[in-house]
Each structure stands twice: as C-alpha cells, then as structure tokens.
C-alpha cells in the first residue's frame, strides 16, 4: 500500500483528531524510524529500530539504546529462509543421494525413491500457518516430486515439475513446533532447477524476496515493527496519559502466538504491576487492561478472541470509570469499576513508563481526553488503513 493509494482525507482527519486529543501516532517507515536511539541515522528495511518519531506532530518518541532489544523494521511478507536462492550454502541440508549441483540445481542419484533437501525454518510458532513456495524447472528425469513442511512430521503436496518454470506451494498450520523444515523431494535419477524458495507466515505465497544471512521482508504492503517476543521493546519518552485521565490506545497488530500467555503491544505502567491502557494478546484473546493503584487487576473489560495470524485494530479506551475494549471499530465490552489514579512518570530507574513491546505493530495512536465514539472510529479507520485492516 503506497502513500499515494491511501485515503488522504482519512489520514488528514485521523491526524487532526489526534492533535485535538493531545495525541500521537506512530507509523513505522524509513521516514519515521532510526537505527540509533538518538535519531540520527535513518532505519532501513530489515534493519534495527532504535527510535520512532511521532507522525502526528508531537514531540513524543519511542526509543531503545540497547541493540539487542531493538525491533526490526519490516515491510510486507518476511521470508524466513536464509540463503533462499543458494543451495550451495550449508543452510540447505542435502539428504541421502541428493547432490546440490550448483546454487539452483538439485540432482537425485537415488535409483528408486524420492529424496529430500531441507531448510530449517527459524522461529516457528505453534498455532500459526506457514506457506513454503518455490519455482521449479525440470532438467532431466522425472518431474513427479513433493513440496512439504515438517512440523513434528511431514505433510506434502504432490507436484509435477515440467520444462516450463512453474511455482509450487505448500501450506501447513503448525501444531507442534518440532523439526521445522521446509522440504523439497526430488524423484529418483532426476534433476530440477529450483529457484526463489520462500517460507512465510500466512496461507498464501507472497512475492519473493531474496535472502542471504538473515530473514528479509519483500517491501510490498504495510510497514511493521518486528519484535522478538523476548526482550525487544521501545520505551516512550514520556507517559502519554495518566491512570486518572480519559484516554485511548489504538493499535494495528496481529496475534502471532496462541502459546505465549501475555503479549502487550502497548502498556503504560508503574512500579511492577500498575497498568493503564495496556493492549495485549493473552494467548488468543485481545485484552485491554487497567489496574487499581495497588496493581490489582479486575477493573478491565472482558477480552475478545482473535484468530492467531489475523490482523486486528484494537482499542483500549477509558472514559470516566468506563473502560472499554474495541475491536476493528466496534465496541466489544465495557467495565465500569474504578481504576487507579496514581501518577506515572518516565523514571530513569525504569520503574514507570510506557512501552511498545510485542508485535507486529503496524501503527499505533495514543490520545488523552473524552473522544467521542464517531471520532474514535475515525482514528481506528486511520490506524486500520495503515495496518491493512479495512474498517467501514
């Protein structure tokens, strides 16, 4: 989605509303992200993000000074396979009687059965769907082979490779993340040219992106921040609202795991346990969380299930004592119990603050004040547009 194709009126209205509500918008791109926390070196696609500046004109920014805690800037689908077009690399394991003749040619010398070459798929998450794809051309012998994925055992799709270069795909949902191999089965005494190997999250094959030592994204579609789910985080330069303020948090994101118990995309927090406006996935449930001053939960609306792998625009909104969870522009649940009133600060000791810490995050909007339903929906449509989610 290029900037030119966006609804400019929606962008203008969304940003206008955010300014009205002391708001900020963070939309990752090479224009808003920097590799260093000081914000001096623009980030590159597939490079680290040490800082992201507000797109709505505020001075607020989010940063990270430790390289290993920085998310990666992506755009579009990510090819998980390293050396995706180079069978001469050791990332591709030749099985019995398979010869990696050159960087794109696989030859089976087995006299009777299919033999496979494999590539480990890094970072596989149970519950997600993966698609493996490649182009193949028959050079000699038989074209009757298989394309497969091994998650605690292989599943395959039979393919017929011909002299005409053809794309083949195999899609599989991961039940147990064990073995984790993309597989190509070559029939006996045959040779294939195999090119543009790609394994990605999702049920369809996206346009190919070549990789070498690291996964890479193809540059087609929304930009996003790729957090590792372990320790990556961007910390805001100031807490955008307090526990007692009316406020809203709208995030375009995707649930990438039903296994991890809690994945906050955004949280404003204080001393270990206090939370306000936290928007997270708790296993497969989109959740908005506020606590009381002691950090006790129970003041939050009931969450809403989101299918793993699905993009969503979630909103956590506080208006007086009413604390609501919204999903894709619609109200899901409201809780009317009192939340905390403690003042949060951005503490040098790291005990208070606000962070983005799980993703992918396509875009995020934060605001303070009594925004109306129709105004909030406009903000959600704006964030949806940046996230590849259509909200009507």
């Amino acid at each position: 989605m290029s900037l030119l194709l966006r609804n400019k009126s929606l962008v203008r209205r969304g940003l206008g509303l955010l300014r009205k509500y002391s708001g900020t918008a963070f939309y990752p791109s090479t224009s808003t992200c920097f590799s260093d926390n000081a914000g001096t070196t623009p980030a590159e696609r597939d490079g680290v993000v040490g800082r992201i500046n507000c797109s709505a004109g505020s001075a607020l920014y989010a940063s990270q000074s430790t390289t290993g805690y920085k998310p990666i800037l992506r755009r579009g689908a990510k090819n998980l396979l390293t050396y995706s077009g180079d069978f001469s690399n050791a990332a591709w394991a030749a099985g019995t009687n398979i010869t990696k003749t050159d960087y794109r040619t696989l030859t089976s010398t087995d006299p009777s059965v299919n033999r496979r070459t494999t590539h480990n798929i890094p970072g596989v998450t149970a519950g997600l769907t993966y698609t493996f794809s490649f182009y193949a051309t028959l050079l000699s012998g038989s074209g009757a082979g298989l394309i497969g994925i091994d998650f605690a055992g292989s599943t395959t799709t039979a393919i017929t490779v011909t002299a005409t270069r053809t794309k083949f795909t195999h899609t599989r949902s991961c039940g147990t993340a064990t073995n984790n191999y993309a597989e190509i089965y070559i029939p006996a005494n045959s040779a294939w040219r195999v090119e543009e190997c790609q394994c990605e999250v999702g049920a369809t094959a996206s346009p190919y992106v070549a990789t070498t030592t690291a996964p890479a994204s193809n540059g087609i579609g929304p930009w996003w921040l790729d957090f590792d789910g372990v320790d990556d985080r961007l910390e805001l330069s100031a807490v955008p609202f307090q526990m007692a303020d009316d406020h809203f948090v709208t995030v375009g994101t995707k649930n990438l795991s039903s296994a991890a118990t809690s994945k906050p995309a955004f949280s404003a927090y204080g001393t270990t346990t206090r939370r306000c406006g936290q928007l997270s996935f708790e296993t497969a449930t989109l959740t908005a969380t506020w606590t009381d001053d002691a950090g006790t939960a129970g003041t939050s609306p009931t969450g809403s299930a989101v299918t793993v792998g699905t993009s969503v625009v979630g909103t956590a909104r506080k208006a007086g004592n009413a604390k609501s969870l919204r999903k894709d522009g619609a109200l899901i649940n409201t809780s009317n119990t009192a939340a905390g009133t403690t003042t949060l600060s951005t503490s040098a000791a790291g005990t208070d603050g606000a962070v983005f810490s799980n993703g992918p995050i396509y875009a995020i909007a934060l605001g303070k004040g009594a925004i109306t339903d129709s105004e909030l929906k406009t903000v959600e449509r704006y964030i949806g547009q940046l996230s590849g989610v259509t909200i009507t």
């Binding site: 260093d36 490079g47 390289t67 805690y69 920085k70 070498t212 690291a214 906050p264 790291g350």
Partner: protein, 130 residues
C-alpha cells in the same frame, strides 16, 4: 545499518556484571550495559545471563577470535572505553579471561533459536512490559 547476522551469548550468572561491562563496548549504540538482563536455565538448573542481538557479519566473525584471545578482547574494549566511556573503568584482563572461559555462543538467527541450540530455557514475556 543492516545487521545481517545474529549472535546469542550465554554465560554463568555470576559473570553478569563483567558481561554488561564488555557489552557496553560491543554495542554501537549507547545502551550496551543494559544487556544481559534476562536469565535462562540449563537442564541441570544452572542459571545463565543471556543476550541476543542482531549484528554485522564482521562482528560475528570476530567473536571466535576474541574468545580465544582474552588479551585481544581487552585491547579492543580498552580502546573503546577510552574513546566512548573515558570516565568509566574498563574490565580487567582477569575479567576478560573469565568471560572467554565461560561464554557460550550461538549464531542461529534469533534469540530463541540460539537458546534452543544451546539447550537453554528462557521464560518469555509474561505480561511484564520490561
């Protein structure tokens, strides 16, 4: 700057402070000292300070050499401290020797993949934002 390699480091928890002092120098940004704040356990329950980071291929290729040559590691770190952290005291040769003797390294892409290769278990984020 594209970091096209990845390194995951693990070392016995008592060496955490030394690791953080060395990481201050390794990290091209200013927050290297804040590394090694996560822990992982091995099958015997041994506790390790762990850290994973994207890096340039040239850095990854130097690690094995520096691990085998604590004096070279010290020289590199002292030079960086002199340039970027002149008010701070760099680690000693004994610190570097202990680090090199204890460090475990994986070059698999991604921290979880690296820890899996080293047969270490980390508790992933559990709701805590930091």
């Amino acid at each position: 700057m594209i970091y096209d390699a990845y390194v995951t480091l693990a070392l016995p928890a008592p060496l955490t402070e030394t690791a953080k002092q060395l990481s201050r120098s390794f990290d091209p940004d200013s927050g290297g000292y804040l590394a090694f704040e996560r822990t992982a356990t091995d099958a015997q329950g041994g506790l390790y300070a762990v850290y994973g980071s994207p890096c340039e291929t040239s850095f990854a290729s130097k690690i094995a050499y520096l691990q085998a040559n604590p004096a070279a590691l010290l020289a590199a770190v002292e030079a960086d401290y002199a340039e970027r952290w002149p008010d701070l005291t760099p680690p000693t040769l004994a610190d570097c020797e202990a680090f090199c003797a204890g460090i475990r390294v994986s070059y698999s892409y991604g921290m979880l993949a690296g820890l899996e290769e080293m047969v270490l278990t980390i508790k992933v984020q559990d709701g805590s934002p930091v």
